[in-house]
């Protein structure tokens, strides 16, 4: 069977000592930075990207993937121990996880989270391996018009999945696409909206933008709020959940994995929705829903599984279609490009050991997280007791070194400061930066594909509706947008995010 042979190749690549070491280091430092409160996976990856520069492309991607899982797991740890979720997807974990921690069950909550993540990671790895190849074949049939339709669908989904007002989410996406047009025009070579600055003629660097709005701005926002970190004082307790706990969690974990894996594949950051969906589902299915929010172990197991499965299947649109579905995957594009790998359907055929090695390393990374994190819980707790007045200057310094090292260019550091201010302003205006990042990520690709499609059709916009696949995708996007704007659905959507 192809799948077995491919996974065999992958594991052979990933199990080389150097790649194992890279995967291990990635998981460890990813968790270390990801544990810091207010530092989510995006800022973590942007900060740690320079660590991978001296490594060969396969090793670098394995390490980056490790950093990503580490950061995800670190975020859950922070959510459980101090109730500060590093990013949207660990908000749900904080609900019941932190309650468990307050009751002296922090260890069990962390252990359950780790086991759920591992299970979800294992299933998600198989899902990627199984549908990666067929989807890649499908992707080769896509022309520019179809890509354009798919990306528009992704952006529409992102609007629906964003928190807060639909109008504001659309505004932020358009802003992102507008920012993406800054720089040299793809075809004519003219400078666009560069304000006459040389450093802008290559466009705005994605890592700079992401680090500004998710790293620097986050520090500013945290300083605004007085320090209210309640690091769990109760003992951590034992780490491994009891047999009865595990039996109770098995269902939620499996359902969460399924939800996460399915939503993560969607091109518009569906993974964000997965933990919320899983939490709501488990609450509905529970014998006694009142336990939720008061330390129900199912409320940790389900969403954590969903979160991790979604985080991993989000690689599918990137690896098969070359379309990053969220900001983290966009950073992966950046990192891959630095190493001369252009994400897309060609990667699998041209560079099979890289493709399958990375997939195999995903599973190894999840296993390592389970092995290294449980014994290190004590260390993370001690790290979290460091007061923010010391932590934030350190975070700042890491951000600066990370950004400078990407291009060895001080101008990048200045732009990061600028976007940090922009990010702070956006927070104050109640505008979510996440959709902007997605708009920015897809913007350049969207423009490229649209222009290619129009050149092929000699300027006729009809090309987007005459081709059946493209028309179907655009229709789906339109329907989703209309549904999202219906008053009844709007209210339901607000309720879903209120949980």
């Amino acid at each position: 069977m192809d799948l077995v042979a491919n996974l065999g190749l992958g594991f052979a690549t990933a199990f080389s000592p150097i790649n194992l070491a890279l995967c291990f280091t990635g998981c460890l430092v990813g968790t270390l930075i990801g544990v810091l409160p207010g530092v989510g996976p995006i800022a973590t990856i942007a900060m740690l990207m320079p660590l991978t520069f001296k490594v060969d492309p396969t090793g670098a991607l394995i390490m980056l993937a490790g950093i990503y899982y580490g950061a995800q797991y670190g975020g859950s740890t922070t959510a459980i121990l101090i109730n500060i979720p590093g990013e949207a997807t660990s908000v749900v974990t904080a609900l019941d996880g932190h309650e468990m921690a307050k009751r002296g069950q922090a260890g069990v909550a962390l252990g359950t989270a780790a086991i759920a993540s591992f299970l979800a990671g294992t299933v998600a790895t198989l899902v990627i391996a199984a549908i990666g190849a067929p989807l890649t074949k499908l992707a080769l049939l896509f022309g520019p018009a179809e890509y354009f339709g798919l990306m528009l669908l992704g952006l529409t989904l992102a609007v629906v999945l964003a928190r807060g007002s639909v109008l504001k989410a659309i505004i932020m996406i358009v802003f992102g696409v507008l920012l993406a047009t800054v720089g040299t025009d793809l075809e004519t070579g003219e400078d666009r909206l560069t304000l006459g600055l040389d450093s802008l003629s290559d466009g705005i660097d994605f890592a700079v933008l992401a680090m500004g709005v998710f790293g620097i701005a986050e520090v500013m926002r945290n300083l605004d709020a007085p320090e209210t970190r309640d690091v769990v004082r109760a003992s951590i307790g034992r780490l491994l959940p009891s047999w009865a706990d595990l039996r109770r969690c098995a269902g939620p974990m499996l359902r969460g994995t399924g939800l996460g894996a399915a939503l993560g594949i969607l091109p518009g950051n569906g993974a964000v929705l997965a933990p919320f969906a899983s939490y709501t589902l488990e609450k509905k299915l529970a014998d006694d829903p009142r336990r939720f929010g008061k330390g129900a172990i199912e409320g940790v197991a389900g969403p954590e599984a969903a979160n991790n499965a979604g985080a991993q299947t989000a690689f599918i649109p990137l690896l098969t279609l070359g379309i990053p579905p969220n900001a983290v995957m966009a950073l992966m594009v950046g990192a891959m490009t630095i190493h001369g790998v252009i994400p897309g359907p060609q990667v699998m055929t041209k560079n099979p050991s890289l493709f399958w090695g990375m997939i195999a390393s995903m599973w190894i990374g999840n296993l390592m997280l389970l092995v290294i994190n449980l014994p290190l819980v004590g260390l993370w707790v001690r790290l979290l007791r460091v007061p923010y007045r010391l932590m934030f200057p350190a975070i700042l310094l890491f951000c600066c070194i990370g950004i400078y090292s990407i291009n060895n260019n001080p101008a990048d550091v200045f732009f990061t400061a600028f976007f940090g201010f922009v990010g702070y302003a956006l927070i104050k205006f109640g505008l979510e930066p996440a959709p902007m990042l997605l708009g920015f990520v897809l913007g350049r690709l969207l423009e490229e594909k649209m222009r290619q499609a129009l050149v092929l059709s000699r300027g006729s916009l009809m090309t987007f509706v005459e081709r059946p696949v493209s028309a179907g995708l655009l229709l789906a996007a339109a329907v989703i947008l209309v549904i999202a704007l219906l008053p009844a659905v709007r209210r339901g959507r607000e309720d879903a995010f209120q949980e």
Partner: protein, 162 residues
């Protein structure tokens, strides 16, 4: 977050609402983009020029901003949050300090400077502690980024020549 979304007892005056300000800023940014892109040629659908997309997006952006502004003026909403000055200004100053100093004096000096300037952002900072911490953090970063990873970041050009 939950308290903020509860309806305020008294309606917020329209010009103090968060969305009013957001709408105005969006329109201003759109106008700026239109002005900056004014010289670019739009071309036609068959041969799209450099200016078509920036212009179309700016118009769309500004239009949406206008919708936001009008909605905010006509329906009650959240009040604009208070902006703090010290935190953001010192954080920005720290990052800019790093950018200005890393090339000429290297990480050995830029590191402590960044930590110290940044620490001024918080009223809780204890200076003696911060001074020691800045040296410790810089040493750690030098060992990690410069020696363990071999990044090209300057260390102390005035002292060791790189």
């Amino acid at each position: 977050m939950t308290e903020a979304s509860a309806p305020p007892a008294e309606p917020t005056p329209p010009w103090l609402r968060q969305d009013t300000a957001a709408g105005l800023v969006v329109i201003a940014v759109a106008a700026f983009a239109l002005w900056q892109g004014a010289a670019l040629t739009a071309g036609s659908l068959g041969a799209i020029g450099a200016g078509m997309l920036p212009r179309a997006l700016a118009i769309l952006f500004g239009g949406l901003g206008l919708v936001l502004l009008v909605t905010a003026m006509t329906t009650d909403g959240e009040r604009l949050q208070r902006w703090s000055l010290r935190g953001p200004i010192m954080i920005l100053a720290a990052v800019i300090t790093f950018g200005l100093s890393v090339r000429p004096v290297g990480l050995a000096v830029a590191g402590p400077l960044t930590v110290i300037v940044g620490a001024a952002a918080s009223p809780e900072t204890r200076w003696s502690e911060t001074l020691i911490f800045s040296v410790v953090m810089t040493t750690f970063c030098v060992l990690l980024f410069k020696f363990a990873l071999g990044l090209a970041i300057p260390l102390a050009p005035w002292l060791v020549g790189y």
